[in-house]
Each structure stands twice: as structure tokens, then as C-alpha cells.
């Protein structure tokens, strides 16, 4: 009982993830600033933002559906924290694992997008509704290549469990390098999932103010921002587990440092993409995802099928 509570609330649950997420947001913003030749925010910036938002007044629009508006941020936060339990941290086994948890993690990571959609829709502001519609349109474009890329590597490992997938790859030396195409595809799709430039179409602040977050303020906004940060590290940790599955059998300490550096490596790739690219239009993104990313993900599936036929023989 106490052990479970500890897992949920402290490590690797809420407390650890929040701290790690704030640190990752700082790292992302600082790297972004340095790449633009700026000084960038001080290290405590995400924490100060969080505390300030928590201390601000909560405004709930009269026209909004009160309950859904208030529940959505908590719902989103809970789903991303739950997803983290299925991802292996420093060793090959996650806290919870069963055959099929890859699918569960992927769907748990879809809930935030749906949460933003529902929350934005029920805040009944025009900008929020436009943002919600864009969020859900975007969901249909990046989700397919992301799923195919991750499931392609599960196909090669012949398992639907993340923990077994990681131990399969760590036993097979350099086999994970064959998933390179899938890694690139999933990285781009993850950018879309996290609604970061060049795929930040749903929050495009120059067009539709702040997308589905337009009406959120105070504590609710603080939790929404925290959950997007946690989504970023959980998504990166998922990619790190699937595509960079080497662990070298280090102990908990060193292995944990390796895990953190893998996640940070993926976060840096995301910030790099954010710096070099400008925002696409929605139709350009749909074309890109369906005509380039999806065929590439299919290519990865074919490569893995051929590899698997060879391996079995």
C-alpha cells in the first residue's frame, strides 16, 4: 500500500516527473535561446511560472461548461503520469508491464490531445474552438506514422510489451540501429503530438491567440502547462526506450544518468527542430504527414519484416 503510494506520488510518479519536466522545460527554452544567440531564461524560470500561475485568480468563463472545463487539466495530467509507469527507466523492466502495454502507452499519450480538444471546445470561446478543431485535425495526421514507427520496432522484437522489447534489443547488440528510419519518423510525429513548432498550428499565437488554452488561467493553466511538459518527457522517454534501448547493464545510479541523458538528447533534437523550422499551415502538415512520414514508416515496417524473416532463418 505505502509502496504503491510512494510509486504514484514520489518516484517515478508525480513529484519526480514534475521536477524532471520543469528541468526539461528549462533545458528546452535555454537551448532554444542559445541557438537564437540569446541569453535565455534563468534556471528557475519554469518553477517561477508555475508558482505564479498557481497564485493567480482562476477565471472561468460563464458560457463555459464549468465541470468539464475544471476537470480536463487534472484528467490530462493523470493520463500522462500513468503512461510513465509503463516505460522502463534505468533497467530493462518498467514498474508495471504486461503484454500489450505499448498500445496502452500510445493511447494514454493520446488522451492529452483529446483533453485539450474537449477543454477548448467547452470553454466556448471562438479562438479556443478553432484551436480545438486544429488539434483534432492534427491528431489524425501524426498519429498514424507515430504508431507505425513504434510498432515496427515491436514487430522485430516480436513482443507487445515495452519491457520485453527493451530487453530484446539489449540482447541483440546493434540491431536497434536498423530502426533509424522509424526513429526519424517518430521524432517528427512527436513534434506534432507536443504541438511544437513547426507543428504548433493548434496554438499559433499569431493567428488564434493561444488555441485551446485561450480561456484557461491561473491554476488550471499551470496544470495544463505542467502536463504538456510531462508529456514531452514521457514521449521522449518512450522514444528513448524504443529506439535507443542500449543499457550496458549499468547499476541503478549510472543507468539512471544514462536514462536522463537519453531523454535530454531527444529533447535537444526537438528544440533543434523548433529553432530551424517555421510554422507550417495545416494543409501543408497533412500533406507532409500522409505523403512523406507515413510511407517512410511503412518502409520501416518492410525493413523489419525482411530482417525478421532473416533472423528466424
Amino acid at each position: 500500500m505505502f509502496k504503491d503510494l510512494f510509486y504514484i506520488l514520489v518516484f517515478p510518479g508525480f513529484a519526480f516527473l514534475s521536477l524532471f519536466a520543469l528541468a526539461a522545460e528549462f533545458y528546452d527554452r535555454k537551448l532554444y535561446a542559445r541557438l537564437q544567440n540569446r541569453v535565455g531564461p534563468p534556471w528557475f524560470q519554469p518553477l517561477a511560472d508555475f508558482i505564479k500561475l498557481c497564485a493567480k485568480e482562476d477565471v472561468i468563463p460563464e458560457a463555459a461548461n464549468q465541470n468539464i472545463f475544471k476537470v480536463m487539466p487534472v484528467f490530462v495530467l493523470a493520463s500522462v503520469v500513468t503512461a510513465s509507469f509503463y516505460i522502463p527507466l534505468w533497467n530493462n523492466t518498467a514498474l508495471l508491464s504486461f503484454n500489450g502495454d505499448v498500445i496502452v502507452v500510445l493511447y494514454l499519450l493520446t488522451i492529452p490531445t483529446l483533453g485539450f480538444f474537449v477543454g477548448g471546445w467547452y470553454s466556448s470561446s471562438l479562438f479556443a474552438r478553432l484551436g480545438s478543431v486544429r488539434t483534432i485535425t492534427q491528431l489524425f495526421t501524426y498519429e498514424v506514422p507515430l504508431f507505425m514507427g513504434i510498432l515496427a520496432s515491436a514487430l522485430l522484437a516480436d513482443t507487445w510489451s515495452l519491457s520485453e522489447l527493451v530487453s530484446f534489443y539489449s540482447q541483440h547488440g546493434w540491431l536497434w540501429l536498423c530502426n533509424f528510419v522509424g526513429f526519424a519518423v517518430c521524432l517528427l510525429a512527436l513534434l506534432g503530438k507536443l504541438e511544437k513548432t513547426p507543428f504548433d498550428i493548434p496554438e499559433a499565437e499569431t493567428e488564434i491567440v493561444a488555441g485551446s488554452f485561450t480561456e484557461y488561467s491561473g491554476r488550471l493553466l499551470a496544470f495544463l502547462r505542467l502536463s504538456t511538459d510531462i508529456e514531452m518527457i514521457v514521449g521522449s522517454a518512450l522514444l528513448a526506450a524504443v529506439f535507443l534501448p542500449f543499457s550496458f547493464n549499468l547499476g541503478p545510479g549510472l543507468g539512471f544518468i544514462l536514462f536522463i541523458s537519453k531523454v535530454m538528447f531527444i529533447v535537444s533534437l526537438l528544440s533543434l527542430a523548433r529553432t530551424v523550422a517555421a510554422r507550417l499551415r495545416l494543409d501543408q502538415m497533412i500533406t507532409f504527414c500522409w505523403k512523406i512520414l507515413t510511407p517512410l514508416a511503412l518502409l520501416q515496417v518492410f525493413i523489419n519484416l525482411i530482417l525478421k524473416a532473416k533472423l528466424i532463418r
Binding site: 540569446r38 511560472d49 508558482i51 505564479k52 499565437e205 493561444a210 485561450t214
Partner: protein
């Protein structure tokens, strides 16, 4: 209690988010405000970010005199911002009405419509003056 309020006050000073609103300026002050937000001056050093919606903003940065047409909208935007909130008037026009004072379509400075926390004069106010004004407003919060 006092530690908590100290922490909250610290967070407020370190993370002011701006909302920029043109109440009828000749556009020169707006160009200077945008210039202050570019990487050259890098306001993110102070945690300052430009936000698109009044719900997220802490500081309303107004430029220009209050025209009769914009008055209602200015008050509405001010009321949409969650507490605590501050208003900064950028440019001589928004401090007093400036060259537009006495025009048939213009009321006066921003303070004729909503309470103002800091005045930054200049025609137009230079980015350095704007940053200085914002930092002074933030350090005045520290003393409270």
C-alpha cells in the same frame, strides 16, 4: 504564511507575462515594443514573455491615447485579465494624450480609463526605456 507570500511574490516578479494592446497609437510605439521583445534585447532573461490572450497575462502594455472607440474594449480586456494585474503606459500619448490631446475622437491618457501602474514617456519610447520601466515596476513590487 509570510514565507509562502514571499515565495509567491518572488515568482510574480520573476515571471511577468505581457499582453500588448494598441489603444490608438500612431504605431511607432508598437514597433518599439516589438523591438524590445526581439532576440536583440532578449526579454526572456527576466522571464518576460509575450502572450496572446488577456487570461494568461499579468501586465497589460498599452500604447497610444485612448480613443473614444477603443475605450470600451480597453476596459473589457482589462477586466478579462485575472488578478493580480498591472498596466504599463508606453509613450507620451498613453501617459497624457500627447500630440493627440484635445482631438474630438480622443479622451486622454490610459489612466482616464483604467488604473496605470507605470508610465514610460518618450515619443516613441525606446526599447531600452521600456525594459527599464518594466524592471522598475517589478522592483517596486519587491518592496511591497
Amino acid at each position: 504564511m509570510s514565507t509562502v507570500s514571499n515565495i509567491v511574490n518572488w515568482a510574480r516578479i520573476k515571471s511577468p507575462w505581457l499582453l500588448h494592446f494598441n489603444t490608438g497609437a500612431c504605431n511607432a510605439c508598437d514597433i518599439e515594443i516589438i523591438a524590445a521583445l526581439t532576440p536583440r534585447y532578449d526579454l526572456e532573461r527576466f522571464g518576460i514573455q509575450l502572450k496572446g490572450t488577456p487570461r494568461h497575462a499579468d501586465i497589460l502594455v498599452c500604447s497610444g491615447p485612448v480613443t473614444r472607440q477603443i475605450e470600451d474594449r480597453l476596459v473589457r480586456i482589462y477586466e478579462q485579465m485575472p488578478e493580480p494585474k498591472f498596466v504599463i503606459a508606453v509613450g507620451t500619448c498613453s501617459c497624457t494624450g500627447g500630440v493627440f490631446k484635445g482631438c474630438y475622437n480622443v479622451k486622454a491618457g490610459i489612466d482616464s480609463a483604467i488604473p496605470v501602474a507605470a508610465y514610460i514617456p518618450g515619443c516613441p519610447a525606446s526599447p531600452k526605456a521600456i525594459i527599464d520601466g518594466v524592471v522598475k515596476l517589478l522592483s517596486s513590487l519587491k518592496e511591497k
